[in-house]
Symmetry: C2
Subunit: 314 residues, 2 copies
């Protein structure tokens, strides 16, 4: 199992200081049952999500060994963070994407200088699993199961610990597992006893299913506006890590997620994408537990039309 020392996370924080923001931890009130909630506003990062931390740390760690080129397999989110970091270091990035990826996310990576190679989904999944792109297009950086990625994501854990000594619970959206693992490992490296709660949307709750079955199982995934998290299968190479690091999983309904998007905008003046709103909803749920609870608002890239429609509803 990947074991990182505190100094590894601290080195990552120093490495990404020029790329990523040190985001604020914003007070979000106290629930009726006396639980204090704060929001780690990763939606205020450049490009609007935490991905810049991992992207920047991964390329900076590889440093001169990269010889000018780097590759990844991504449906778009990680590709953007990596593309920005690569451009700043004058590295050519090749993104291997599934042919069902959202156009708008791939186009954003192209604008940042990335080259896109599309593959049928099965071929793309094979690249993600084997890290073999079939081309000599540079060092491969896995979007999730990568030391540099988890160290980059772990810098969030360092900031949470520094900003809130009383923190006892952190709620993290579960996508591929890289975000929650990085944060959990950083808090452990600091010697902080903090409950690690993963959150999922009801329509794509693969982690919850894996915990029930005690191993990754294939589930039916229904697409929704919560497009940044949720898969049909927990990445097998992440399961040993997340099954040990995650204390609990809270599954949020679509209507809870929509209400959270609205409350975040109206009350806290933050635009959050579905995944970030799921963390907010989970943190407010009594299913989450804890007294001092930080919710990681992982990103803000929500379609304006969807946000507008949610705001217009009661």
């Amino acid at each position: 199992m990947f074991a990182a020392r505190l100094e590894d996370f601290q080195a990552a924080a120093a490495r990404i200081a020029g790329d990523a923001a040190r985001t604020p931890l914003l007070p979000a009130g106290i629930t009726a049952t006396g639980r204090e909630i704060r929001l780690k506003a990763e939606n205020l990062q450049p490009l609007g999500s935490f991905k810049i931390r991992a992207g920047a740390n991964a390329v900076a760690m590889l440093g001169e060994s990269l010889k000018g080129a780097v590759a990844t397999a991504s449906a778009g989110n990680f590709a953007q963070g990596l593309a920005l970091a690569a451009r700043r270091r004058k590295l050519q990035l090749t993104v291997h994407a599934p042919d069902n990826a959202a156009r708008v996310k791939l186009e954003a990576a192209v604008k940042l200088g990335a080259r896109i190679v599309e593959h049928p989904f099965a071929d793309w999944w094979r690249i993600l699993s084997t890290r073999q792109t079939g081309a000599d297009d540079g060092a491969f950086i896995h979007p999730v199961a990568e030391v540099g990625v988890m160290l980059g994501n772990g810098t969030i854990g360092l900031e949470l610990a520094a900003d809130w000594p009383e923190l006892d619970t952190v709620v993290v959206p579960y996508g591929g597992g890289g975000l929650i693992s990085g944060i959990a490992l950083a808090l452990r490296a600091l010697g902080r006893k903090v409950r690690i709660v993963a959150c999922e949307i009801e329509t794509a709750a693969a982690l919850s299913a894996a915990f029930a079955a005690k191993e990754p199982v294939r589930i039916e995934r229904k697409p929704s506006f919560v497009d940044g998290i949720g898969s049909s299968f927990v990445l097998p190479e992440m399961w040993p890590l997340v099954s040990r690091l995650v204390d609990d999983v809270v599954v949020v309904s679509l209507s809870e997620a929509e209400a959270a998007v609205k409350t975040l905008a109206v009350k806290h003046h933050l635009v959050a994408e579905g995944a970030g709103a799921v963390a907010y909803a989970a943190a407010h749920s009594d299913r989450c537990g804890g007294k001092h609870v930080a919710a990681v608002i992982s990103g803000g890239n929500i379609d304006p039309g969807i946000l507008g429609a949610i705001l217009a509803r009661n």
Copy 2:
């Protein structure tokens, strides 16, 4: 003229630390003409606007001399900030409001424990001008032309100076003049040469008219969704101060303000009210000038329906 020393602002910053947040200064890109823009996100304050700074500082400065009661004249925004600060210090707040004030803002103050007394507009304006409420309801704190208010607002200037050594221009929404004066005086006290740019909405540009006439003149004010700034007349007691402190005024159109609301939400993931969006629009305008420009996003309290409608439009 009110002259504050640096230590007065520093004392205010210490005084409000438990009430107000130290808000982030967020990078917002570089314009086509090479001007770097950053956003002072006062919409992330408790209650969603900068007003908590002034309210908290004003009541904390008066301290024990208050004898349990305090009064103000406000149409709602300042009343909320003052109400929160007063409640924390167990002070009874009486808010004298014009009878055309927005219900929702007065109700928010009531929820925070304030008592509301409504007056016909002319009577209310007399209270605002004379500070005589006609009742023995505690020390009167003026929402704008008050030392404690300007010192509280000035803490924004201290934070801007600390966070951005290269800052050369700050753009501030012009309502009553207390926000821009506080920020300008704090930057002067620090010895920082920063251009002070006021911004207004085209439908209520009283300051721009006053600069043209070299004295406050009455203008026609059309109501719009930009309800936090703009009046029909520059407060005469603020004119000597603002006419010396303000270097320039940028007037923004309603369509520019709407576009700024949308861009702030979609690109920067911040919900801003009209006044805050006006600062964003003005900072991006070539009419503003400067190379390192901070826009004060003064608040985030926009009607969800209005925000939804703006997001739904192209």
